[in-house]
Amino acid sequence: MSLAPFGRRRLTVTAVERLGAYSLLRAADPDGPVPAPGQFAMLAAVERWGAGADDRPYVPRAFSVARHRHAEAHFLLEDVGPGTRRLAELCPGEELWALAPLGRGFTAPDEGRRALLVGGGIGIAPLAILQDTLAGEAGEDIEADVVDVGRGAPPDACDVTVLLGFRDRARAEGAALFQGARVATDDGSAGHHGFVTELLAAELERDPHAVVYACGPAAMLEGVRALCEERATPAQLALEAGMACGYGACFGCVVPRRGGGYLRVCVDGPVIDAAELEQIDEHAGAPA
């Protein structure tokens, strides 16, 4: 995984675009190392961080790197509170504090195994850069990731299938970040009417040798974890947790570890092997 420069750094916002129910925030990050898929950043607005609902936000907020191209970092945001709202309101030219890249990302599948990317809601963000990487659509930057993800040798573009679940049509527009994703919506307004875990179950029937990469709400992650456990399918789950620091200092971001004790999502994760987890804690997923 890439090491983060020590200390938060200033990034200049280059664009904030709507993508259905989400916002795509782009910021120039000339000094930032190329992140590995699944790594995240702690972000805060330089100006006016605070003074939102209940005088928040105060601490920075965690966001998966959704893309990193030409020294520009992309983040996909869902407005769920004062921090995400403030960030979504940023204008080009305004500045961000960023501490990144942080955490452990995804690990590439063994040679020849298919990658099943399963995203739910805002949890699709880290899967976008993962698809870029695994499918080998490597822009200059991306190659670095491939080496990283591929544990040494850039894999031949491996076979990647993307399954995305959303609550509604507005959120389903987030699928535009992917090439050839299959979509499910809870309300049937787009794609399969139902849960993305149903699509996953079908895929696993067809190809028991696939490797699963998932990120989304706790309920979805738990569904994925259970499915993969039954079939002994390896699964890498990108978790979430309320965080204050993002680099292991506060011990605030824990999830229960299988067999007792806790893992710090920011340094032991956010991508954690499903085998290390028992039932997914309700707070361990993306905002539902």
Binding site: D54, P57, Y58
Partner: protein, 312 residues
Amino acid sequence: MSVEFCGLTLAHPVVNGSGTFDALAARGVFGDEQLRERFPFSAYVSKTITLEPRAGNPPPRLWEAPAGLVNSIGLPNKGLERYISEDLPQLAELLGGPEGRPGGGAPVPLITNVMGASAEELTLLLEACDAQAQIAAVELNVSCPNVRTGLDIGADPRQLEDVVRAVRAATGKPLIVKLTPNTADVSACALAAEAGGADAVSLINTLRAMALAPRAGAPRGGGAGEGAPWLGGGTGGLSGPAIRAVALAQVAAVAARVEIPVIGMGGVQSSAHAQDLLDVGATLVAVGTESFRDPAAGARVARGLQPFAARI
């Protein structure tokens, strides 16, 4: 220009608050080289270590308050034995030890923060620390609830003086007593620690606080959890800018009464905040929650403090 503190010579007056900076985790995130070159504190204070390992409290462990943070971490730590066998050697590589600092430069002294439920436990902890050349000083966290009364051991001056006196002999290293702010008269507690034999006191720890789960309207608000305690630990402690004015009052009250040096902390975000604590009598200042917003906060604070600017 440097600072003398209990016989230690420090490059500047800014250290970390215990439990707010994990040097070994940071080493993994930022790398050994960067962290060693840019280490933000003039001494490193460990998270509270207990005799037995502790898993800590169930999540959620954090609540964001107006200009502050409520935490209910529950003092997770690997226990004395593994702290000594696993962490000390790594800390020596990072911060240097008696034989100086890897890559040159003066070592960053290690202050080990310990907590025990009884004088017996504390004695064992202090004796163990005393045997470790790597440890420069010991900080006693007396903010832990007394198992019988539920009150912080450190909240009652008489009880505090007895505990400190009982354990004092267990180490020849500088003994810092970290006072609890949840008391009627913090300077009486400081005087008690001094009378018991403490070489320094540090304050303030977090203010006892609580939060309920977000209500309908807020994301994930409403529903079952609504109105129930949010923190897995039930209650927690408030830190950050919200407590700065309370910290300044307590540090001023303590520094005015005791002879021993004082480490002041609570809501420090800038050099001006640190200067306030120094002006009311603190010898050192600790940066806590602000390090969560920026791991380099300690260096930023120290850099702005004349005449130490040159040193960082």
